[in-house]
């Protein structure tokens, strides 16, 4: 298993270095337009939120996998974990604000020792929708996780799981040796308790992202392929396939630079810039919380250390929904990934 950039003390483990790359080179010398230059003429700068609907909490960077494209740089060697106190602050905000969706991510969020407590409390509180971004392999990683499907069902959570391809070759190249086989086992366990089944209300969505420096294809067509292949070969059912474009930060940025694909990938994102996708970018209806309770416009800005603009409050302890809904979203060139082609977000294509 490879180590995180963080453990290797890699230059790109430094958030400032990443932002610097996105702000310099081909963007500083005018070869390519900046995100601001593209959204300003169509009236989207400064980029402002619509309505806050999704409260996305990253409860820790620890993970049992080390995926090559991970924007979090997650892995077993990451020890940053949200405490129960911060979770309590998050629950208080959910209660008081009435935000519709709680979206729990990581790392592997299940590895946080207070994960089950957090989910159960949110469920008890009556949060309308709870999404858990599960990597699937965690379910079979250790006997203590084997009952996760049952726990998910009891709390009526929606499961969103990454599976970049319906065969082992591509999946394992991105997510690690043996991940495909374990993911299939995890999906079958989820199906067994009713997740993703046609006659069930338990939602199981899969997340597709390209295994390399290219854009995702049409979401509906890929979904059709995934459904056919997974059903035929493994008897697996799921609800929707969500396509996500790889964001040029962290490990994927490292891959782009190391493989000599960076300039071309950025140009590709810009050539595919879709003004219609700007209106649907997720930072307009989402807030992202890190393990320490700091707030960001999205999980990607979180990983770049780009906190919310200072005047609206940067920590969960000062959460003020009116201020947040009137903030200016912090942007940089990685934002082009969310506006390319059919658009991209944690909820899949947007345009």
């Amino acid at each position: 298993m490879i180590k995180s950039l963080h453990a290797r003390q890699h230059q790109l483990a430094n958030q400032k270095s990443q932002v610097e790359i996105l702000e310099s080179g081909i963007f500083a010398d005018g070869t390519l337009p900046t995100f601001k230059q593209k959204i300003e003429p169509i009236g989207f700068f400064p980029l402002r939120p619509t309505k806050l609907e999704i409260f996305q909490v990253n409860i820790g960077y620890m993970c049992n996998q080390v995926c090559k494209h991970c924007h979090v740089d997650a892995g077993p060697d990451r020890t940053e974990i949200m405490t129960k106190e911060t979770m309590q602050q998050c629950l208080a905000v959910l209660k008081q604000s009435g935000i519709k969706t709680l979206d729990i991510t990581g790392g592997a969020p299940e590895m946080n020792p207070d994960f089950r407590w957090f989910v159960s409390e949110a469920h008890r509180l009556g949060v309308e929708e709870i999404i858990i971004r599960s990597n699937l392999t965690i379910i079979t990683a250790n006997p203590k996780y084997h009952d996760l499907p049952e726990f998910f069902r009891e709390n009526n959570v929606r499961i969103c799981s990454s599976l970049p391809f319906y065969s082992a070759g591509k999946t394992d190249r991105q997510r690690g040796e043996g991940v495909f086989k374990d993911s299939i086992a995890g999906l079958q366990m989820l199906n067994k308790v009713g997740y993703g089944k046609p006659d069930s209300n338990l939602i199981l969505d899969l997340v597709y992202n390209p295994v390399g420096a290219f854009l995702p294809g049409d979401q509906k067509q890929l979904e059709r392929d995934f459904k056919k292949e997974l059903k035929e070969h493994f008897g697996i059912d799921f609800n929707s396939l969500l396509t996500i474009t790889n964001i040029p930060i962290s490990r994927f940025l490292d891959f782009l630079i190391e493989s000599g694909n960076y300039d071309e990938y950025m140009e590709k994102l810009i050539n595919a810039f879709n003004p219609a996708a700007v209106a649907g970018v997720m930072c307009r209806n989402t807030i992202s919380i890190d393990w320490q309770g700091f707030m960001y416009d999205c999980d990607f800005n979180q990983m770049l250390g780009l906190k919310l603009e200072e005047k609206v409050g940067q920590h969960i302890s000062t959460f003020n929904i009116d201020a947040l809904e009137n903030r200016e979203v912090i942007i940089s060139q990685h934002c082009f990934a969310c506006t390319a082609g059919a658009g991209s977000s944690c909820q899949g294509a947007t345009a």
């Binding site: 391809f165 070759g169 290219f214 854009l215 294809g217 067509q221 392929d225 050539n271």
Partner: protein, 111 residues
Amino acid sequence: MEQTYYNPADLKKFGNISEWESNLATKFFDYYGDVFKEGDLTAREKSLIALAVAHTVQCPYCIDAYTQDSLEKGATEKGMMEAIHVAAAIRSGATLVHGVMMMNKAKKLSM
């Protein structure tokens, strides 16, 4: 003339052909766009056909474009290689089937 006949950057300038004849270029690009829309064949099947033909006509621009496009459409590497073998089989088959013509001629000429 440039030092090489092919330059990867020229692929992005494909649309520039309309500068000297816009009417025909518009017709061509509209047609091209429609050809690759999903029909009885899926967009991925069309992309794989394009990839195979690209190798047959040995167009570096097309190979660049349709390798990428096939991956985006969700093709597997094995599927892409199979497509090229189809092109290769037809090419070599086309050579060999003319062997019958050669045999016919040789037989006619020989005692």
